[in-house]
Structures are given as structure tokens and as C-alpha cells.
Amino acid sequence: MTPANNRIVFENVSKFYGEVLGVNRVNLSLPPGVTSLVGPNGSGKTTLMNLMTGLVRPTQGTVSVLGLTPDQPEEFFRHVGYCTQFDSFPKGVTGYEFIYQSLTLRGITRQEAQRLACEAIERLGMGEAAGRKVAGYSKGMRQRIRLAQAIAHHPTVLVLDEPLNGLDPMARAESIALFEALGREGLHVIVSSHVLHEVDKISDQVVLMSYGYVVAEGQIHGVRSEVKEHPMQILVRCGNPNRLAARLFSQDHVVEAKLNSDGKGVLVRTRDAGQFYGLLNRIVVEEDFALEAVAPADDDVNSLYQYLIGASGGRV
């Protein structure tokens, strides 16, 4: 597989549902790893995922996944698994049957389908409930069995629409660990979620959406440094914050330096993070200043979301 067709590519993609805009003029090229789609309800996250997997067709533009399109379903869906947000199942099936049946549609042998179904069920910790009817499952169990179905065939691209919905904290942590592991294995894991601090931890890149448009995309730190109108916030923990703050005030690129509420650090807002870090290095060396920690305070999905979409974007 060449690097060019190891990506998920949207080229000038628009989707309209009648007169209602789904997404508009989307251009994306997503590399392997965990990608988070973030945006308020109705921002086009699910439409983007449905376009990726061929459940809806673009009104304009083209979408390809690893160089394939859904018009070649035999090849395409060998690589792609999609856990949709539809909390629905074929009637009357047990958890095991649900996964087994979908595997038999792949034209594999019964033994292979049984093996893969059991493997996926075990991976999601659904072994005890697999023999019961899905209709009797809790919301979290239904979510997990759908996740098991999406990964059962070992896809290269895993698309997950709000996969953490309905999961208890334990299952949430396990699922996040699973996504992280899959991302490390070189898979494309595309996750949409409104639990920003959770996707923030596992995302290699982020796509921020609002009203059908891609507002920003890329690695979180890269996107953050592009947001010039909001000075970067950096928390410096040190033993003598007053002295440090006084030293920083005189710099042009420092917009604000205020003592942290616990009195053990300074929260700095700067227009130029590079210059700030250079200055901090000089202060440490020249004045023998003891630092405990230096960390960006708004270099995460949540802050990006607030800066780029803000309250006007609605609730995430």
C-alpha cells in the first residue's frame, strides 16, 4: 500500500439532504492513527462518517478510503468497520448471532466466522452475555456488542460514531484503551464524541466541525498554534512565581502573567509560544531559576473547540 492510498481522502465533498446542508466543501486527508471528529449536534460529524462508509453518497466530490470506494464493496468493507450511532439490531438475535451472521455475509467458512465472533466477543468482555437476546441488553452492552461486530473482521479502518455513549466509566476506560491500542497497531480509528477530554487523550489528530464545515484539522498542537487570535496559555510551576511574573511582564509577546490560584505557579498568556520558551530557558540558565513544571494549559481539543466554534456552536 503506497502512502497515498493509506489515507482517507475527501476531495471537495458536499452533501445536501434536499435543501438541508449536511457537509460542505470538505477537503481532508487523514493518515493512520486515532482521529477525532468534534463538533456540536448537527455539525456534520455523522454525515462525514456515513459518506466515508458509503451509507450516503456525496452530492458533489469524491471520497476514498485507502484508495477504495464503496462501489467495490467486496474489497472496501474487508478493510472498513463502522459502529454507527443507530442503537438497533436485527430482530430476535443473540449477541453471538448478531456478530456471527454479519461475518457469514463475508463469504467465510462457518468455523472461521465462529472463531472471529468469539474472539471479538472476548475482546469486548461480552462472553457471558453473548448467548442472550440483544433485546434484553443494557444500553452499554448493546454499545459494546456493536463495537465487537465492527471490529470482528479485523478492519484496517474503524469508524466509530459516539462509541462511548451509554458506557459506564469502567467500560469507557476499556474502550478508550482499545481505541488507543488499535491506533498504535497502525489502524485508522475515526471517533466522533462529545466527551472531549476523553478523545483528547487518545487523538493523534482532530477534525473540528461546525455547521457542516471543517473549521480546523490536523494534530491538536499544530491546530492550536494556528489559532493566533487566542494567545497560548502556559502554566509554569515554580517556587518563586512573583519573581517570574515580574520578569515576564516586560516582554512584548506576553499578554498576561497571573499568579495561579494555589500560589505555586504563573499562568502566562503569550502570542508567541516559541519566543516564550526561549525566554524561559534564558531565565532558568541566567538566574538559576528552579522550575517544577511547564505545560500548555489550553492545548487540547476542548480549548480548540471553545476558540474555534465557541458558544455559537451549541452544545457538544
Binding site: E74, V80, T84, F86, P90, G92
Partner: protein, 287 residues
């Protein structure tokens, strides 16, 4: 010429083995749904009701009555043409085949098929085959039971009629026409279910078309399932008065044309269904 070459290449290179395995998988899944779901109970009741009535007719009771073999043969022919073909199989197939895709949309489970490495044409073929198998089994069983109950109470003369006379060939013809009716109506309703949300209005239209096709011009008559089925029935029923509308075949065609004619019509309808499903998108909210 290039079209022929590309068709030959397609036939040679297509993954027939994979498609066959997938087809069998779809048929298995759908058969289970069609035959064992609670929703199918009314179809069983509809199909088996004439067999039940004929069984009562054969009993030596106030509900039973004394008939000759010839009379009962005509009664069975009437029940087959007027109930089975025009009502039972028609509505049974309407309930069964429209639900094959509409049911998945209503229950929001169609996307599981669309997310499998499965050509949508194979899905249509698989669902159609499952529908034909289920409806063929239900109505075939009913026709078989009706036939059995109709002649069983005659004793030795009845057995002679069945095994030494025209009985078995008539039964084979009834079962064959039943299967063809399931194929014909099934293809029609499956295609409808991909186009319209509510099958009742098109169902009424098709019922009217199938009932009154005899008064249509010759070419349009050939676009009716009933046109082909009527002439394949082994026993003609009297065509007096208003009944002539249902029984007379204005321009009969031989069986060797009627059967391929019906199958061609069904194949054309299924091809249209395949074109339709290729463009189908998942938007359950709109439904």
C-alpha cells in the same frame, strides 16, 4: 462487440464462489425472519384458511356436504384461481416481500447489510430467493393440504383420481403455478418496497391492475402476472357473467411462452430493483 467482450470478461472474472456463499448466507438469515417471526402469523392463517375450510367440507358433519369428484375438482379450481391467486398469494406476498426491505428500514437494521462486503444486487437476489422460498413453502403447503383434503374424503375413488387419473398432474400444476405466483408478485412487491414507503396504495393499484387486466389492450395484458398464471391453471372454471372477467383469457399463449414470459417480466422488475438499491442511502430519520 466491445460490450460482448466486457460481458464475457465479467462472467469469467466475477467472484461467483464468493457471491454464492454470500447469497446462501442472506437466504439463511432472511428465511429465519420470514418463517419464524411473529409478524408472519397472519400469512400462515391467510394461507391455511382454505385448507381448514376444505377439511371441514370433507367431514361427515353439517358443515360437510355430498359432492361428486367433478364438482369438487371445479370447486378446488375456483378456490385456487379466485382465492389463492387473486387474494391469498397476492396479499401474502405483499406482506412478506414488502417487509424484506421496509422492515429493515423500520427496524433500522438495513445498514448492517450495507456495511458488509456484499454487492447490493446479491442482497436483492438473496432476499428475493428467501421470500420466494418462504411464500412458496407456506402457500405450497396450503395448496397441497387443500388438494389432499378435497379428495381424501372420497376414499377409493378419490385415490384412483389422484394416483391413476389426472390428480397428480393437477397437483403438480397447482404447485407450479403457486410458485410462479410467488415469484411474480414477490418481484413486484420487493421492487415497490424500494420505491415507496407505504405499500398499501401501490398494492391497491396492482390488485386493480391484476383483476381487470382482461379489459386492457393486448400489450398491457402481458404486463400482468395474472395473465400468465391464469392460462397455466390445470382446470378451467366456468366463465359465465361477471366471472368471465376473472377467468377468460382473451389471447391465450402456450405454457412454453407463459412461463418464460412471466420469468422475463419478473427478471426485468428485479433488475429495476437492483438499480434502485444501488442508489439507496441510509436515512432512517426520513422514514
Amino acid at each position: 462487440m466491445s460490450a460482448i467482450v466486457s460481458i464475457r470478461r465479467f462472467l469469467r472474472e466475477a467472484p461467483w464462489q464468493l457471491w454464492t456463499a454470500q447469497l446462501i448466507a442472506v437466504v439463511r438469515i432472511e428465511l429465519r425472519k420470514a418463517l419464524w417471526m411473529r409478524r408472519s402469523i397472519w400469512i400462515y392463517l391467510l394461507a391455511l384458511s382454505p385448507a381448514f375450510i376444505i377439511a371441514l367440507h370433507g367431514l361427515n358433519s353439517p358443515l360437510g356436504r355430498n359432492c361428486t369428484l367433478a364438482e369438487d375438482t371445479n370447486i378446488l379450481a375456483g378456490i385456487f384461481q379466485l382465492f389463492y391467486l387473486r387474494l391469498g398469494i397476492f396479499f401474502g406476498c405483499m406482506g412478506l416481500f414488502t417487509w424484506l426491505f421496509r422492515g429493515e428500514v423500520v427496524e433500522k437494521s438495513l445498514h448492517y447489510y450495507f456495511l458488509a462486503p456484499l454487492r447490493r444486487e446479491v442482497l436483492v437476489a438473496g432476499k428475493f430467493l428467501a421470500g420466494v422460498t418462504a411464500s412458496g413453502f407456506i402457500f405450497g403447503l396450503s395448496v397441497f393440504l387443500s388438494f389432499t383434503f378435497m379428495y381424501a374424503h372420497f376414499g377409493a375413488p378419490g385415490r384412483a383420481f389422484v394416483f391413476d387419473g389426472p390428480g397428480l398432474s393437477q397437483l403438480a400444476a397447482y404447485l407450479g403455478v403457486t410458485l410462479l405466483a410467488c415469484v411474480g408478485y414477490g418481484s413486484l412487491f420487493l421492487a415497490f418496497s424500494l420505491v415507496v414507503k407505504n405499500p398499501i396504495l401501490p398494492g391497491i393499484f396492482v390488485l386493480g391492475w391484476e383483476t381487470f387486466h382482461a379489459v386492457l389492450p393486448s400489450l398491457l395484458q402481458k404486463l400482468s402476472v395474472m395473465f400468465y398464471l391464469k392460462q397455466l391453471c390445470p382446470v378451467s372454471i366456468p366463465s359465465d357473467g361477471i366471472m368471465a372477467l376473472f377467468t377468460v383469457v382473451a389471447e391465450p399463449v402456450p405454457a412454453w411462452i407463459a412461463v418464460p414470459g412471466l420469468l422475463t417480466l419478473c427478471a426485468a422488475i428485479l433488475v429495476l430493483a437492483c438499480f434502485r438499491i444501488r442508489r439507496t442511502e441510509i436515512s432512517y430519520l426520513a422514514d
